[in-house]
């Protein structure tokens, strides 16, 4: 890896050694994600650590430990991995596509619409009778948002897309408030609010199985845009001159985001700012190249969410802090700092 840049005349930030630093970042993040995943499996209120897992080999009382791990902690760790990766990749893809370091899935209204779909499922009582109604309606909400987005901004400029996204977010937010306002009983309202805080506690493998196909397809669509995003570094016209089909790129970005973020929001509620913070922190480590940022941000997002989810278990055991609350508490000030820094020209 380092050989390229050590060679005489080779350079770490140039096309010759373009992957040395990025590959190092990728490898390091992969290792960290693996470690965080294992930690996530072994930390919790029940004494079911790794020791207990290995205890099974020697024939101890490991059955309960295995059960806790498989039924409670494994879905949780898998969801942190999948949702974190989704938020990281979609944030990086949207920032590259919109060429705006402040972009994230929330910007184009997908998160808010997915949340609205989920809220409707809870509000109508559908989620109580049909457990899968909540994720299904959330994905449906995200897709409706995409459909409106395509009609409003299809074939037009990036600015139109952002404006349409803001409008859709506002409408979804207003309808969500309306549902809360008209909520028939305080319990339904409380259920909606708790879900909206964003969490991956008490999810089962059913949730994992439902979200996984959409997330895999959506993230794959987003990763497929990497090379095209690279060309957008020089603006839309130059990208067209380099042979990039912008309409197709837009379709991949919007559909990929809707599928992956819609499915993620469906099982976890709204977890904000991961898609904003992660690409921003990792961008300098990949030479600011939009293509390399995609896979690295996926790993970074997964790592951040795994660690955050471990933290809420450790810091506030018993009455756990919601994951979405934690990411917002950390992410919103970061966002503010970003706005101030970019205003001063400190952050590109």
């Amino acid at each position: 890896m380092a050989r390229e840049s050590d060679r005489p005349g080779g350079r770490s930030a140039g096309p010759r050694g373009r992957y040395s630093r990025a590959a190092l970042t990728f490898t390091a993040l992969s290792v960290l994600v693996a470690i965080a995943f294992v930690l996530s499996l072994s930390i919790g209120p029940a004494a079911a650590g790794l020791g207990a897992l290995f205890g099974q080999l020697t024939g101890g009382e490991a059955d309960i430990a295995i059960l806790i791990m498989r039924e409670i902690r494994l879905p949780r760790a898998l969801l942190a991995l999948m949702i974190g990766a989704t938020l990281g990749v979609s944030g990086a893809a949207l920032q590259g596509f919109l060429r705006n370091p402040l972009a994230e899935p929330g910007v184009i209204g997908v998160s808010a619409s997915a949340a609205l779909g989920a809220v409707l499922a809870i509000y109508s009582g559908l989620s109580a009778s049909v457990p899968l109604a909540l994720p299904a309606l959330a994905i449906g909400g995200a897709l409706v948002a995409v459909a409106i987005l395509q009609v409003l901004s299809g074939g037009r400029s990036t600015l139109t897309l952002i404006l349409a996204g803001v409008a859709i977010s506002s409408i979804a937010g207003a309808l969500t408030s309306l549902a809360l306002n008209l909520s028939p009983n305080p319990f339904a309202a409380q259920e909606i609010i708790i879900w909206m805080l964003g969490s991956i506690t008490d999810r089962s493998m059913v949730h994992v199985a439902l979200a996984a196909p959409f997330i895999v397809v959506g993230v794959a669509m987003l990763l497929a845009t990497a090379h095209r995003l690279e060309a957008l570094t020089l603006g839309e016209e130059a990208a067209i001159g380099m042979g990039v089909d912008l309409k197709r790129l837009r379709l991949l970005i919007v559909l990929g985001t809707a599928l992956s973020v819609g499915a993620a929001t469906a099982v976890s509620g709204v977890i904000g700012f991961v898609g904003l913070v992660v690409p921003h922190l990792l961008r300098p480590l990949v030479g600011h190249r939009p293509a390399l940022l995609l896979p690295v941000s996926g790993l970074g997002g997964a790592l951040l969410l795994l660690v955050a989810d471990i933290l809420v278990r450790l810091v506030t055991p018993g009455s756990e802090l919601k994951l979405g609350v934690l990411t917002a508490l950390v992410g919103a000030p970061f966002f503010l700092w970003l706005v101030i820094a970019s205003r001063e020209g400190g952050v590109p």
């Binding site: 930030a13 020089l234 130059a238 001159g241 380099m242 042979g243 590109p348």
Partner: protein
């Protein structure tokens, strides 16, 4: 490899901003596209590249139905709008010229790297290849973006105002560079505002006015006082030096 644009018409808001433009560009010629502001020069280039909805046909080597990527390999385009959105290094910026040939997440081939380094050296930016492209002066940025277009190594190049924002030294440098490429067999179409540069370096000039091509021919036949008065509405000083014509815009004719 020859570029042929036939009956290009571009409409915006119900009126035609390019009307029935015909244009050819062959390897080994430097063609200047000149005309006053708003004549439609940039729009015509955009239409040819495919960045502008238009009617009419664009043929490359006789083929009107190339994929965008295949087209990008044969026709390099330097847009007028100079944008660098992310702080990539100058050499990575120039390496984007190889984008139409590259597969995602692969290393550049020795041939790619050669083209990149040659282009960097030609514009004289080899010394700052590792600098962030975001902190360049506007002149350096213009040269880096030109190097990106040169690194494509395409048989044809459309350059929209390649010498805008450059000082006289670099204007001459860029024109000589384009001339050198043309000698090596590339066909170059450049939008130019400097009429002396157009007269001196181009094999052929095309004059546009109000969305139409109104004159076409050798600089000597086209760039004269009568054309400048009619098309540009200026009265120029015109002279000869070392066998080529120079033009100095002196005053406006009657204002509209």
């Amino acid at each position: 490899m020859k570029l042929e644009a036939r009956a290009i018409t571009v409409e915006a808001g119900g009126c035609a901003i390019i009307k029935d433009a015909h244009l050819t560009l062959a390897p080994g010629e430097l063609v200047g596209l000149i005309g006053p502001n708003g004549a439609g020069k940039s729009t015509l280039l955009r239409a040819i590249v495919g960045a502008m909805r238009h009617s009419g046909e664009v043929l490359l080597g006789g083929d009107a139905h190339l994929t965008p990527r295949a087209k990008a390999r044969m026709l390099a385009y330097l847009p007028q709008e100079r944008r660098v959105e992310w702080a990539i290094s100058v050499s990575e910026l120039v390496a984007l010229g190889r984008h139409p040939f590259e597969r995602p997440f692969t290393r550049l081939t020795p041939g790619d790297l050669g083209a990149v380094e040659e282009a960097l050296a030609q514009v004289g930016l080899g010394g700052i290849a590792m600098r962030s492209a975001k902190v360049l002066s506007s002149g350096e940025q213009a040269l880096a973006l030109l190097a990106r277009a040169l690194a494509v190594g395409a048989p044809l190049l459309l350059a929209d105002e390649p010498v805008a924002a450059l000082d006289p030294y670099h204007q001459l440098h860029v024109m000589e560079l384009l001339r050198e490429r043309v000698r090596a067999g590339t066909g170059v179409l450049a939008v130019l505002h400097d009429l002396t540069l157009a007269a001196r370096f181009c094999d052929r000039v095309i004059v546009m006015r109000q969305g139409q091509i109104v004159r076409e021919g050798t600089p000597r036949a086209i760039i004269d006082a009568a054309m400048l008065e009619e098309v540009y509405r200026i009265v120029p000083l015109i002279g000869e030096h070392e066998g080529t014509r120079w033009v100095m815009p002196w005053r406006r004719t009657t204002p509209l």
